[in-house]
Symmetry: C2
């Protein structure tokens, strides 16, 4: 049964990238693709592309490679929940809003259903078509709106308390922009996305390479 085995987080990330690349090929009218073509665009080895595709439960043929449309469908089945998933964003700052607008409409299976902010001027309003609640209501609204995914755009000192409130409401996944390791119970997945950290890595190696 596909989906029942444990899949590495890295694999899921690569599959997500393959879908983006395949959509581009499809829009260009390309019907078939070989592993080494995806390999080049994704920046991984061809063997890994083939292994990832096997994980999806899809098979290619030695003569024609992989059918683009069918492979996209396999990835959809793998990545997307049939009924979609509800997403909330906590911390409606510049970053939070950019993230929200970045996703708006791109992935219809992920629905942004609630915003939260500590600023009373923001909570109570409707921003980008989504209602913004005060942060005290996180647990209540996460539960009532059946939010399974939370995007955490709050400052580091507030992150743990907000995460706790989200988990208490039933959230199972957190995309954490704050530079702290969140403590969460087993079964809750946390993905850290620290932009300052990434930029400092680039700065470091730009300097070392520049000699």
């Amino acid at each position: 049964m596909p989906g029942s085995a444990v899949v590495a987080a890295e694999t899921v990330g690569r599959v997500s990238l393959y879908r983006v690349l395949l959509s581009g090929l499809q829009q260009a009218g390309i019907k078939g693709v070989f592993s080494h073509q995806l390999s080049t665009s994704a920046g991984v080895s061809a063997a890994q592309v083939r292994r990832d595709i096997i994980t999806l439960g899809y098979s290619g043929s030695p003569q024609h490679g992989y059918d683009v449309a069918e492979l996209i469908e396999s990835i959809d089945n793998f990545l997307d929940a049939p009924d979609g998933q509800n997403v909330a964003l906590v911390g409606v700052g510049n970053l939070g809003r950019a993230v929200a607008s970045y996703f708006a409409g791109r992935r219809p299976k992920l629905r942004l259903v609630a915003l939260f902010d500590i600023d009373p001027e923001k909570s109570g309003r409707v921003i980008c078509g989504v209602r913004c609640y005060p942060q005290e209501k996180i647990t209540e609204v996460v539960r009532s709106e059946r939010v399974s995914i939370v995007i955490l755009g709050v400052p580091a000192p507030a992150a743990q308390a907000v995460a706790d409130a989200c988990v208490a409401g039933g959230a199972r996944g957190i995309l954490n922009f704050a530079p702290v390791a969140l403590r969460v119970p087993p079964g809750v997945y946390v993905e850290n996305l620290d932009m300052a950290r990434s930029l400092e890595k680039v700065a470091y190696f730009a300097r070392k390479a520049g000699g």
Copy 2:
């Protein structure tokens, strides 16, 4: 000689996080710290914290652990260029602006000196105190402004051409938000930061964990 050995990208990222955590401790008036304390906040093992600190060239003592102020200074010496580094942002959309405002003032050693956008309404103007140029001028301005780091906030189809122009101007590091593997010459460092990919990883595991 510290800094001459090859250091893994993961190590640099962790060190960046340690600095953030240590700054928080320092502001709270805490003078000393043990490896297991940083270990908890950073979400890595204590042995790894100790090994990373050795990489910095700093030493603690078995009795007092590490001196917070001295450790921060060691990290500054490790991560920061003495004269700072110049940064450019290509693609002044919602995301780009959020990233720019996110960094403004936080890291004085990283100076945002130029923006680029394909939209003629943006180029020519001054946005957030930084001049915005048309994209045709990338190579020229990157060279004249001595930009070593580029934040790439353009759509995927444009990313490779923009990266090429930046590298031609002398850029040595790229923070790439576009979901494509950039081809760059040896000595140029690329860090990929794909938010859609991260969110889909969260969505996948939130679903699997939720049962």
